[in-house]
Amino acid sequence: MSTLLKVLVKIMEGESEGRRILEDANDQTEKIKREAQEKTEEVYKKEYEEAIAEGERKSMELKKKARENAEREAESILRHAEEQVKEIQAKTRERFDEAVNAILGEIIS
């Protein structure tokens, strides 16, 4: 075999190897695309569910805070009622005998 021919054969072999490398790359590309395609639904679902869960957590937190704030604010109403009860008790202590005698009078008169 002449030297020139040998050179041509080597170059052709090199080209063939180059094509094989590119074919492998194309195969890998197809695989990457296919895998990504397969993942899309799962990725969508996971992302969607996480965002909804976060929204629900926020909603629960808002409601919990609203209840706590309202209960704290409403405490003054209960305190006022307790003060009212004490005032009533103080007044009725003075009027207790008057009431008993009046009712007694109603029954026996």
Binding site: K6, V7, K10, I11, E13, G14, E15, E17, G18, R19, I21, L22, A25, N26, T29, I32, K33, A36, T40, V43, Y44, E47, Y48, E49, A51, I52, E54, G55, E56, K58, S59, L62, K63, A66, R67, N69, A70, E71, E73, A74, I77, L78, H80, A81, Q84, V85, I88, Q89, T92, R95, F96, E98, A99, V100, A102, I103, L104, E106, I107, I108
Partner: protein
């Protein structure tokens, strides 16, 4: 010549590997973009739902506040009302205690006589049976005098018969027509029960007036 040949082959392989790397890199980039786009789409879709959820939450928060305040106001009203009821009941319990004491005092006989006359008058006079408890049967009552008082009030001749039947009461009297068809119960218990609403109201008016 051989080294030139190697150079050419190496170049061919170098270019091929470089291109292959670039192709794969591009494919990965494209896949990542596709997945990122999916994520973005999911976030957007979920965002719409979350936004509507939070809008609903705003209205629920207002309802929660309203409910808490309504419950607390109701509880506060009940606290005051319960205490008032308790104090009125306390007065009526004391009245009952005093009536029990009164039933063993000297004043009691005149009260009992008044009760008998009132009951006889309510029944319209006539022949009436008077029922007392064991203790009161021993009291020096004057049935004829009481019958006369009833006769004067009703205009109908009245006769009172003391029954041998004893009633269970801490004071007061039961008077009935001889046929037992009409009964006037003037025992303390019956009076307290019959007039409970009115007495509670009167007690409250005294205790809680301004």
């Amino acid at each position: 010549m051989e080294s030139e040949m190697h150079g050419i082959v190496d170049r061919i392989l170098y270019d091929s590997r470089k291109k292959a790397k670039s192709i794969i890199k591009e494919a990965r980039k494209s896949a990542d973009m596709m997945l990122e786009k999916q994520k973005e789409s999911a976030r957007q879709k979920a965002g719409e739902k979350v936004s509507s959820m939070l809008k609903k939450t705003e209205s629920e928060v207002a309802t929660i506040r309203g409910t808490v305040f309504t419950d607390v106001r109701r509880k506060a009203s009940w606290t005051v009302l319960y205490e008032k009821e308790r104090l009125v009941t306390h007065v009526l319990d004391e009245v009952k205690t005093k009536l029990e004491a009164l039933s063993q005092s000297k004043k009691y006989i005149s009260i009992l006589e008044t009760f008998i006359v009132d009951a006889g008058t309510v029944l319209g006079g006539g022949t009436l049976e008077v029922l007392l408890n064991k203790r009161d049967l021993t009291l020096p009552l004057k049935p004829n005098v009481l019958a006369k008082a009833i006769t004067e009030k009703t205009g109908k001749t009245t006769q009172l018969k003391l029954s041998k039947q004893k009633i269970e009461t801490f004071g007061g009297v039961v008077v009935k027509t001889v046929d037992g068809k009409i009964v006037a119960d003037n025992t303390f218990e019956a009076i307290l029960k019959r007039r409970e609403k009115e007495l509670r109201f009167k007690t409250a008016r005294i205790l809680f007036r301004d």
